[in-house]
């Protein structure tokens, strides 16, 4: 890992809510262009970490930088360079596909022409050109998910955070979605993904397993399997969380 390749740098990060420590002295790094899987049981502190990295929650202590910008003082710059997609595939249901693209492109300050170009590109890749003016609420869940992922990339961010992006969709759609994630990562965008599906963890370049605010393990899936002498991430996960 060379220094300039590191996009996210977390050092001794701690976040306390009152007396409860949600994130306990966390340190890790994420490289440019990798798919970083962030695993952990519910309430392990995953969402808190993502919120801190996105600049909407400030840490209690520790050093955190995203794309070289400090989360304490340069959240504005961080926000311009990240994309975010939550498990709800949050789009405006009563707006059309294009209107969603236009709105989110607009809040990132993209010019109208650029938005149009990028929307056409995304819809073409998805094969949904004829759905450009359909209202979101009329589309199936799998399509919404793909559109939400594209919308999150409209401003060409350096990192994209996916918070449980595949909850509630069928296996085929999930597989297709991971193809999209690979494509995105190939184009140089770093993907930071949380998931509950252990088979998905295997698709990641590197994973970290978090429990009770601490990282229990962090490495490539292969190395972890060797280290814990298990044949699947799921077994490692259960071993560690217990």
């Amino acid at each position: 890992m060379t220094r300039e390749n590191i996009l996210i740098k977390v050092n001794n990060l701690t976040k306390k809510f009152g007396r409860f420590t949600a994130v306990d002295n966390l340190s890790f790094e994420v490289e440019k262009g990798e798919i970083f899987g962030f695993l952990g049981a519910n309430g392990a502190g995953k969402t808190t970490v993502i919120k801190i990295l996105c600049g909407i929650l400030s840490p209690s202590s520790g050093d955190v930088s995203v794309d070289g910008f400090d989360v304490y003082s340069q959240t504005e710059k961080i926000k311009k360079n990240i994309g975010y997609m939550s498990q709800n595939f949050s789009l405006y249901e009563d707006l059309s596909v294009y209107e969603n693209f236009r709105f989110f492109g607009g809040i990132y300050g993209l010019p109208r022409k650029e938005i149009k170009k990028r929307t056409d590109y995304f819809l073409k890749t998805l094969g949904l050109q004829d759905k450009k003016d359909s209202v979101i609420s009329s589309l199936p869940l799998g399509w919404k998910q793909k559109i939400a992922f594209s919308v999150a990339q409209i401003h060409n961010p350096k990192i994209i955070f996916l918070d449980e992006p595949t909850s509630g969709v069928d296996p085929v759609t999930r597989r297709q979605f991971w193809d999209m994630i690979y494509k995105t990562a190939h184009s140089g965008i770093t993907v930071f993904v949380t998931t509950h599906y252990m088979d998905e963890a295997e698709y990641c370049d590197r994973i970290s397993i978090m429990d009770a605010g601490k990282i229990k393990a962090i490495d490539t899936p292969e190395n972890l399997k060797k280290l814990y002498k298990e044949n699947s991430i799921e077994k490692i996960f259960i071993k560690l969380i217990r």
């Binding site: 996105c54 600049g55 909407i56 929650l57 400030s58 504005e76 926000k79 311009k80 990240i82 975010y84 997609m85 939550s86 498990q87 709800n88 949050s90 789009l91 405006y92 249901e93 009563d94 707006l95 209107e99 236009r102 709105f103 989110f104 607009g106 809040i107 990132y108 300050g109 999150a152 955070f161």
Partner: protein
Amino acid sequence: MKGFLIKEFRHIFRDFRLMLILFGMPVVQVLLFGFAITNDIKNAPIAILDNSKDYLTQKITDKILSSDYFILKKNLNTNNEIGDYFKDGSVKEVIIFGNNFAENFLKNKNANIQIITDASEPNTARLLIVYTNSIINDFQQKQLSSSLEINNFVSSGKLLKPVILTTEFKMLYNPELKSVFMFVPGIIAILLMLICAMMTSMSIAKEKELGTMEILLVSPLKPVQIIAGKVLPYVLLSFINIITILLISYFVFKMPVQGSVFLLLSESILFIIMSLSLGIFISTVSNTQQTAMFISFIGLLLPTILLSGFVFPIENMPLILQYLSNIMPSKWFIIIIKSIMLKGVGINYIWKETLIIIFMTAFFIVLSVKKFKIRLE
């Protein structure tokens, strides 16, 4: 920012039910309160049992019927009929003239009129009696004075002119006691409260519910921009609504605006901002649209209707409720609107109420900004 507003208007215009509430409700409410739910007596059906049928009873009858308040349903002949007409509800009042009315009135100064009303509707009954009484009194005064004048003329100063005491009522600002004049300010207050507070809190809560709020927060937009984007469309819509209500009340109900329209509109904008800050505050404490709606409905709408003096006069409330009514922003706003519309006063008469609303606005804004920050922490 522009994109945000366009998006927000799209949300509103695409939601048919929302549109109906936003633009249908003001019109329906004003018309409803103005026409249907009225305390005015107009064309109350009455019956008259005239036992003497002389020129005086005829005169009184004419006078009563010539007012707008009553309409003659039936001339009765016997006492027995009275009960039947009341029972089937076809008349609200029966007026009975005693025997030899004119003779008694002029000679014995002791003529008899009996008024019977249907008190199953107590308010109406009371009002009917008051109206009838005042008409008869008026008639009596005139009759006495004119007959005295004749007497004086005939007996050429022999009689001392007796002093006739005339009690004259003058209803200021709303001489016809139109209840529309009472309702319009109340409706404006309620609608602004409803549209601003309820709609904004719900639309912000909706973003939270759908998770789009998170995306907005992650975007480079500042919280202030997000809130302004959510709130501004409603400022505009509420303003349109105020103008609609004022136009309806002016053209349909002939409600005057005695004071400055500019002052009225500025005060309305102040109240809009107040309601919006309240709405934002509500949205910071509620995570779903339903919670937001419940809080606005029970916490705002009901007290506004009940405690602001819009329906029930504050002076008649128990002391505790009177104190409680002081924290209702709408109470002060209703006072302001009434003063401007009916009394035509300027800012020097209502600066105190205005100040109270400004203070409340500041309070809610500070509170919600604090809350908003805590939520982000």
